[in-house]
Point group: C2
Chain length 496, copies 2
């Protein structure tokens, strides 16, 4: 490695150590922080953010980048990845003036509280001026970075290389195929017996999900799982902090939340450890990350093959609670479909419709085709069109998600991209590894994880989102794999 690359790596890793401390503070805040210590934590996090920004914008990084760039095509391949991705990150950090960053931080805080109050009051009008200002900030951010399209920039921050035009095609195809499929599945639904799953002791739920996630390959020597209000996965391959939540009367929720977060954790643990904190040891973006969590949660852990191994263990652990439920009923409970107005409560069939709705609204907002004041009406119309449901108030409509209050535009599409990519990877790995169902039925995940390690995790940020999908599957991102998978999984269960 050239001296400039060595210096760059050292400085990036140093900044990343501070980022990892920020991440731990945030984990602790959601898991263990005493109720009245939040102001102190805000102070600690703000100072760490300041010091991290100082390290990540260290002029020495700019000098190392310039030196690497002067090598042109002579640079080694990994050094070209390093300089390209580190340049992108460095410019984003250094081209935004301190006043802009400070104004954004103040707006995020005020906007969050306005959103929470508006949601409680079920009154979008209270939040509208803040959303307007966040849209303005997103446009200014793109301008300051010299980028032509603010929404493309917002999308690129979450999924490098993905544009609004690309998503428009993808989501149009998905909508065309998924809306009728979802309608067919919903129409054919048989009542499920999820409600019969009650009285599952929380401690045993924790033991069971630990057994399952360890079997998937999560290394508990470098990570742990705790409890928080909303499940999440934070940290990096040195130390992953996942969470789940427990409800004695909903054992599938804690289990599938844990498996989902384990998918994120396995990705982080599969990044090259020696390169953590640099583009060679970082995740591509949100969509690829979500593809990992969804693949393990849905394609793997909701399958019949998976439960062939785990059902007897599940029954034994919680005996006699499952005695009155047949295997088929358990499988139906695991794959229940139920349209809902609330995205976070959605099943995997209708979930994608919630994302199409949000993408269409974001796109119209950024194009200037939708005024903020008209957002609730558009939301409600789309909800009726896509889900067949109309919110009774903004609290279960356009105010349900926190994302926009923080100006996180372009984030929602990643969830659906993740679902599409997960399905696409699923068919690719089944072709690459014949007998995969037999693996799952035997409780073996090493070949699947090994394939993901090689094909996805080990590559770091060498490729952008769609480049990576193409390299692994031989084609660009396509919605047809997701539609195929949903049809194959859900039609037979729902009268199809």
């Amino acid at each position: 490695m050239s001296p400039a690359a060595t210096a760059l790596v050292a400085d990036l890793k140093r900044a990343n150590v501070l980022a990892s401390v920020q991440s731990l503070l945030s984990w602790d805040e959601q898991v263990y922080l005493p109720s009245d210590s939040a102001a102190r934590r805000a102070e600690q996090s703000a100072l760490l953010a300041e010091l991290h920004h100082r390290e990540a914008t260290n002029p020495r990084i700019g000098e190392s980048l310039a030196a690497l760039e002067s090598l042109g095509a002579d640079a080694a391949e990994d050094e070209r990845v390093l300089r390209r991705q580190a340049r992108k990150d460095y410019d984003r950090l250094t081209k935004l003036p301190a006043e802009f960053v400070a104004e954004k931080a103040r707006l995020d805080s005020a906007s969050y509280h306005a959103w929470a109050a508006a949601r409680a009051a079920r009154d979008f009008a209270q939040f509208a001026p803040f959303l307007e200002r966040q849209l303005g900030m997103a446009r200014r951010e793109a301008e300051l970075l010299g980028l032509a399209d603010a929404y493309d920039h917002a999308l690129d921050k979450h999924d490098p290389g993905i544009t609004a035009a690309r998503l428009e095609t993808l989501f149009a195809e998905l909508k065309r195929d998924l809306v009728p499929l979802a309608r067919r599945i919903v129409a054919g639904r048989v009542p499920d017996r999820r409600a019969a799953l009650c009285g599952f002791p929380v401690e045993q739920q924790g033991e069971f999900l630990r057994e399952v996630t360890a079997a998937l390959g999560f290394d508990y020597g470098r990570g742990r799982i705790d409890v928080s209000l909303h499940p999440f996965c934070s940290g990096d391959g040195h130390d992953i902090r996942m969470t789940t939540r427990f409800d004695a009367d909903n054992p599938l929720d804690s289990l599938f939340s844990a498996i989902h977060e384990t998918g994120h954790g396995l990705y982080e643990q599969g990044l090259a450890r020696e390169w953590i904190g640099t583009p060679l040891g970082e995740a591509v973006g949100m969509g690829i990350h979500e593809s990992q969590s969804r693949l393990w949660e849905n394609q793997v852990a909701r399958s019949r093959a998976f439960w062939q191994f785990w059902e007897p263990r599940f029954r034994a652990r919680f005996a006699p609670r499952l005695d009155g439920m047949s295997s088929e009923e358990l499988h139906r409970a695991i794959n229940a479909v139920q349209p809902t107005l609330i995205r976070v409560d959605a099943d995997e069939v209708t979930y994608n419709l919630h994302i199409i709705l949000r993408f269409e609204i974001e796109q119209r907002l950024f194009r200037g085709e939708l005024a903020v004041a008209d957002l609730p009406a558009t939301w409600n119309a789309l909800a009726q069109e896509l889900l067949g449901l109309t919110p009774a108030h903004d609290g279960e409509g356009c105010l349900q998600d926190v994302h926009w209050s923080g100006g996180a535009f372009g984030y929602f599409p990643s969830y659906c991209l993740g679902n599409m990519i997960a399905a696409q990877l699923w068919y690719a790995v089944r072709a690459a590894l014949p007998g995969l169902d037999e693996d799952l039925a035997a409780g073996r995940f090493d070949r699947l994880l090994g394939w993901l390690r090689t094909q996805i995790h080990g590559r770091g940020r060498r490729l952008e989102t769609e480049e990576l999908v193409r390299a692994v599957t031989g084609e660009g991102i396509s919605s047809r794999h997701l539609v195929r998978y949903l049809g194959e999984r859900y039609l037979p269960l729902n009268g199809g």
Copy 2:
């Protein structure tokens, strides 16, 4: 407040925010860190230490101090405290060259591992060269700070104003009175029935100790208690992190550990919150800190009055486990005396003998009267003289404690000072608050805590250790209160 004082306070608080993050990292390391993540944590802690040092040695602090010092006697009282104490801290940090600090950090690490290996091998000779080097570093540190006496400096770091000469008098008096008293108590011992306390479910132990410590006044809105190998208390009044440990067959250990740490936590929570991070909102030192933990643990929580309230609750919570034990037997179990070679296992009577032993050795080492090579023989002779026991090997003798491996000389005396001061405060508060036993018997601690808040906690670092004791009790530190207390508590229980 003058502009210089305002600037000083802001800079001190800023450095303190980083210190509080270091403290959280250390807490997490001992409570929740995954087993293979220690190297990453070391990296995080080292970077935080570097950044904290940079903030705490910010030249602006020196400028503010100089400006405050130029005010001379015109400065307001609190500003005089601020400048005196902040100057002491600042000089200690800035007068030690970076090379010295780095050398010390390397030595601490190597020395710790050498100590751990030597202890496992029960072979002091392996550790001797490291102890020799730590003594040399302590002497060099005093020289670099321009201080005449290295041991006085070591003592002052833990208990401001306390000198070796002062301790010599105090410990000579204590030794004169305590050795015969302890001998009498031990000779009169009646077998206790601690071993009968077994099968106490850990979860209920946790609930009970939380109920007790909350009743003492610990604010769980700004603190928590978790589990670690060795109990400790970290954090500050914004967010206290205490720990205890559980053994189903030793419920008194977790409870008294928790009460001890709660004493530390109550002190921190009683410091003026708006001044945390500055000398006006910081603890005086180790001895005063320990006086708080010991007062709650021993004088309060081992008393008959205390158990008058808590015994029925203890019995009910763990019914029927205490049915075969009388109240008198429970009281004896709580106040059992048993000489042991191991300091951390010692009861409150013989504990102080362990400290006298360590003080005499430290003093002789620093005076050059004892060669490191001769330490084990001297240790064993003193153990026989003071405790009537001789270690079978260095592992249960001079290698039992970690402190010296980190060069923490002058630390042990604080434990015994804490015991002396706790007893002295105990008689003072009983005089100041008639009917205190009735409070304890009614489960009320507000008057006691209120008195400690006013007399000790609220004063911050305005006074040095012995000045504070004098201000509160009307006399300097004296061992006679401890001897009186131990006699009154333990002679009646042990044939006296």
